[in-house]
Amino acid sequence: MESVLAFCAAVLIAPMLPAVIQKVKALFAGKQGPPLLINYYTVIKLFRKGSVYSTSTSFVFQLGPVVGCCTSLMMLLFFPLAGTAPLFSFHGDVFMLFYLMGLGRFFTILAALDTASPFEGMGAAREAFFSTLAEGTIFAILILFFRFSGSLSFQEFFTGTNAMNIGGEHGALLLLVIIALYIVMLTENSRVPVDDPATHLELTMIHEVMILDHSGPDLALIELGAWFKLLFYSAFLSQILNPLQLADPLMNGLLFFGIVTLIYMSVGVVESITARFRMNLVPKFILTSFALVFFVIILTMELIQ
């Protein structure tokens, strides 16, 4: 029951959190910024609209948003949100979920290529490249977590005596993992300094340029998928950051969403004070995260034996 509530809360709150990023950015720029509920208005507006489809596209183009949204929702279904057990979980689910995320990417890329637009092709190629690099980091993190806890599911990572958080036995090592995961989060969610969601110069964009031709409810589904995905990554981070397990489920939930909001705010700060990298620097940036986790894995060889 609590899990269902937590899941519903997460899904409902997911659109609001990115507005926090916009608020922080506006504050830095000395502006007032959009209202916190802006994304709900956007979704409702988009749901009411029809769509214009490019004559170049086929049914694959319409498949992209649905698959993308589904895979992000699957992540939330299997992730322990707000200190509760996830709705579904099994030993080994992490492989399946990260591969499902790959499926979402597969169809987003195909939808972009379906428009026959050179810009979208460019975005698609970059998305494929950068996420491959990020995949390396993610699997390195999975290896590390398995080595620490012997578990292969999100739920097992964060429960029991050997929970993966900075208060636990391997807390110091997890600091590096947090940095790495943060980099992966920025990459996978197309944030600055990898990609800039606000820019309107098509050549510099990755994710935004891939969805140029989507409109109406299709675009809304893409946006929802992106918000769920960002929430998943920040929830992942917050679980590692949060050493406390409170008795009161409500307090637990508040603590969880509080940390998540802080993470969103930090993303806003990063976006305000850094510029987007040149494209050729991005692989190095992502590989830094891999190097960090790999370093931790090497450290564990001495610690455990």
């Binding site: 004559t55 694959v60 589904c70 428009t115 637009s117 460019m122």
Partner: protein, 652 residues
Amino acid sequence: MNTLLLSLAVIFAGGILALLFVRQFTLMKLIAIATMSAGCLWGLSLTLSGLFAPTAGMEISVEWLHLFTLAFKVDSLALFFLLPVFIISPLVLFYSFQYLGNKNKAVRSAVSYFLFAILVCSMALVVLASNIITFALAWEIMSLSSFFLVVYDYEVQSNRRAGYLYFIFAQGGAMFLFAAFALVYSHTGLMDFAAFSQIAEPVKLLVFILAFIGFGSKAGLFPLHIWLPQAHPAAPSHISAIMSGVMIKMGIYGIFRVYLLLEAPTPLIGRMVLIAGMITGVLGVVYALANQDIKKLLAYSSVENIGIILIGLGIGMVGVSEQNQAMAFFGFAGALMHVFNHSIFKSLLFLGAGAVLHQAKTKDIDQLGGLIKRMPTTGKTFLVGSVAISGLPPFSGFIGEFLIYYGAFQGVSEHRIPFVLTVLAILSLAVIGGLATACFTKVFGLAFLGEPRTRQAAQATEAGAGMGLVMVVMAVACLVIGVLPEPFIRLAFAGLKDLSLINTFDFSPFFVIIRQVSQTATLFIALFLGIGLLRKFLYLKKEIGSSGTWGCGFTQPTVRMQYTGTSYGDEMVDFFRPYVPIKRIYTGITAIFPGRTTWDIQVGDLAETYYQQWLAKPLLRLLERLHWIQHGNIQLYIAYIILALIVLLFLL
């Protein structure tokens, strides 16, 4: 056992019938296909019942020419490798009915069916052979029949070249195999496979390395793979399908079999296989990404998948040497599962590429585009194949990779060297997965989606219904295995039941996980349908417009401005540059008013370059000097033979 050989006889009879009915083209095809398929289905039912039967190790041996004994033995591993042979062959044959539609080539088609029957029989015999001579015989027949199948269109010079290259690698590989076998024979004096375990430990390592090279050249192990990207585009598509889907797996079977026969050899073997698998997998997919010829790309992707299978085997072998039963079991099981799955989706993709080639007359991705609108069945099935081969759930490719991952993670807590190796194996699997996604979004996205880049692509129409049906069957199989993997995983587990190394392992708890994988896949599909319905509902009574793609303000786009395969893969391929030779040709802008200029990216093959530089050229130079031996004088040639015989007589 006898009935299994009888089913092979039926397949062979199908080949003979094709030759007999050569004058009635359609009748010939029908009879050949029907007979061979019947034989395959009979064999398949025997194989399946054998896999789940408790008794194993049936043997049969016949004296042949009073010289050698031909011995066959059935065990669970052999039966498992028979599955792809008997499943893919009839499907591919059914496809060939329309694919080989040229009446003027009736004789050639008949010979092709005859050779096909021989190929299928020889593959089955390779798997069943249980002594050195039988194996070598079947192996050679397999290599030769597939060589002739590759050069079906022998008028084209490039096809002949590709065929010769395959021939060289097949025979060169066989030489290594014979060397390995000879080494065993010289130590034991026995032809029987059981003798392998009796030789001394250091010799075992040497035998394995020789056999690994020999089998690797058939399977497409990294530096020995260069015949694949040449031979597969040259061969007719259904032949590429059977070769890539089934025949190269015989190399895997050989590696696995020799490993098992040597019995508990040094840990070095497992590590070697694992490292070879990682190199093969990663470089295979990078080269696939760099190539724009669909069939060449699929051939490189076969190299990649052989890498994945070898990673699985390597994990298993490391597990055995570390006495980690779970790691060993899931590594081997994952490798077998991937062998099975790959045979289906790779054949599907080759058949799809064949349909494209047949209809659009080109296999260059940069000349295609927008095919899904004109070839919907081919397009949709190709999409399924692409998702499956990228290892994404809920399709079949994921299941094998899941097992391999699961096995590899069991090794994460091992000692130092195995630990580092398993970590690297997991990471390479992840990178291979990401790059495979990039590679197959490229093929599908550029060849089937977007706008046609040439007139041929714009005028292509759907291939025949028979060809379509085969592809649909295979695509459905990919989905079914992905959603309901349990019976198929049981097949792979059954394939391992005669392996004394690991057959005490209790795998029943694992089925709980597999059922959950299957439930998750179902959940995902349900969610997908749910959101799809929601989307439908949202679009009810809405205005749906259509217009050109948004060109960011540019109003005169042409189809040539679309992203090409070269540009799509360039950034990623460039990342692996030292291992992938890239040549950029740019004529540059010279005048104040820019004129015509060209920009071309050519990607070579590292192994090919090195072979040319260090093997082919020095060899040619040496042979040039020995030219005087070859003078065309028959008498002297005979003298050579006599001399050689005398020398041998004294030596032996």
